[in-house]
Amino acid sequence: MTGTRDERVREIVTRYAAHRGPLLPALHAVQEDLGWIDRDDAAVIADVLNLSKADVHGVVTFYADFRDAAATRHTVSVCRGEACQAVGGQELYERSVSRFATIDDVTVTEVFCLGNCALGPSAQLDGRLHGRLSDDRVSALTQGWS
């Protein structure tokens, strides 16, 4: 791929311009292709979709999925929903936060339900869903992350 970031954003968003309500699919595509949605992307996106910059900025910041910087190499999203809390999900979350606190390459986030409520505690490790997680299992699955 070539071109400046602005040109690439313009090219991606243009693919969605004819859709109904194109903003969310366009934002997903920008993040998917370029890794994150930059604050400065809003002006380009707004221009292509005939929206105001404020509209775009408002939408980007409303949704938890959109990030304004590149993701870390590894991600851990631990479920804090009630069903996972019933089998130790809260403790798993807290221990995951402290386990990876000193490792720059790992981001730990909370999520509220991954739809795996009968096989908790659940988490996504690098986007992959795992159920019936224990500390040992997390250690085994994240070996070599430090």
């Binding site: 309500g21 409303f62 999925d65 929903g81 999520v111 009968a118 096989l119 795992h130």
Partner: protein
Amino acid sequence: MTAGRTTVYVPGDAAAVSVGADDVAAALGRHPELDLVRTGSRGMLWLEPLVEVDSERGRIGLSAFAPDGTMLSAETLLSIGSAAATAPAVGEHAAYSLGVGRVEDHPFLARQTRVTCARLGIVDPTSEQDYAAHGGWVGLRRALTMAPAAVVEEVVSSGLRGRGGAGFPTGLKWRTVAGAEPGLRFVCANADEGDSGTFADRMLMEGDPFALLEGMAICAWAVGATEGFIYVRSEYPHAIAAMRKAIAAARAAGWLGTHVHGSALSFDVEVRVGAGAYICGEETSMLESLEGRRGEVRAKPPIPALSGLFGRPTVVNNVLTLATVPAILADGGERYAAHGTDRSRGTQAFQLGGNVRHGGLVELDFGITVRELVEDIGGGTRSGRPIRAVQVGGPLGAYLPAKLLDVPLTYEAMAEAGFMLGHGGVVVFDDTVDLGRMARFAMEFCAKESCGKCTPCRIGSQRGVETLDRILADRAHPGPAHAAGLSLLTDLCTTMERGSLCAMGGLTPMPVRSALTHFPEDFGLDSAATPGGRP
């Protein structure tokens, strides 16, 4: 099944994959004598990954891992597949059996009434032909021979109510849209299944996606819609992929697109992916999100049926609601209405989760009690400790104490008891749960996920967290400040209930109040007191 070859079925359902189903499929798929089919899950989730093998006796189920972690071998499956019908169902394979013989004879499934989820775990979700071979498209074929108004009345006669949580009669909603301003109309499937403890929408989309598409197409014919959207939460990547594949296959087979199978119906569907906002499961917030805006709820009226997506008449129904419609059109509304009780007609796909031994999907006629569901079917807690609380209806549902579990799971009985059925999620907690902490979590969740449009929800939940922090800090030595905190908390609950724009702020007090009423000792109160005033 080809001669000399044996077909094995391994679920591709996200829950099964979360405990190793993909590894099992990879290992079995390499064997030259096995034909591998990836299905959805039957819903016996504690047995996952549950492998099935074709035999003369039917499909025999085996857990893919023995208790010591050994993976089921292809040889074991081949020996079961080739055994005579008279051979014992499990025998030497007991290590993997966990009591499973013929899958449909398993007590967990045998007592269920599968209507909405009839094909789940049985069919190949990527195969439109398999769907057709298992009764698919029959409802749509029949609907297309009927006048649209007659299709609406068939759904009215079924008594089907919205399975997303609000329980609004589906046929009446469709009638309103059918009678609305002529022109462009939409069908939106709400697949933003964010409630903790619920996963039936996900399982259906992953295991029987064509049923949702058929339901949407029937709805489109009934109300005169031409475009459909499925709004799926981003936390469900497997469901998103399954629906996209199914849409392409349905188009190729002529069930979506212009002039569906030569009829006057032209209808197409697009998947839209959410972006991590719980509130977008609220229907007006979902419409805002589909339009490309912040997922802030709209004030009603106008109702979406009259002014919905882009201001046009719109049906918004939950996945399970729409996926039930094909069976209603195929077999008739009366037959569906014969299931259930009173004004809760039909079946409900309950989802049993949390600290439960036998968790999974349980589709039954309305009317089973919470106790029967969690004790008889669920087998009690996974930890083996006594049940202390059961939360029914997701994060906005009540915590029921062990002594109140005999309430029947119907819309009316639950409402009468001050609870709600919601989307049918049932989450079990053992006696180690701290209901004070769970009440605080309910407020914290609301504070984090509130769309921020109305003050009672946005600020009330934040104050709720702070007030509960003080109450819980004082609970060992309650004094006047503790009593004042509790009084403030019940005031806050009343304000949120009466002043919030949507169910998020309006119902967050339900778990809080029920915890306070039924578990006062967790808030530093005498267990005889009932400060919540009501559930």
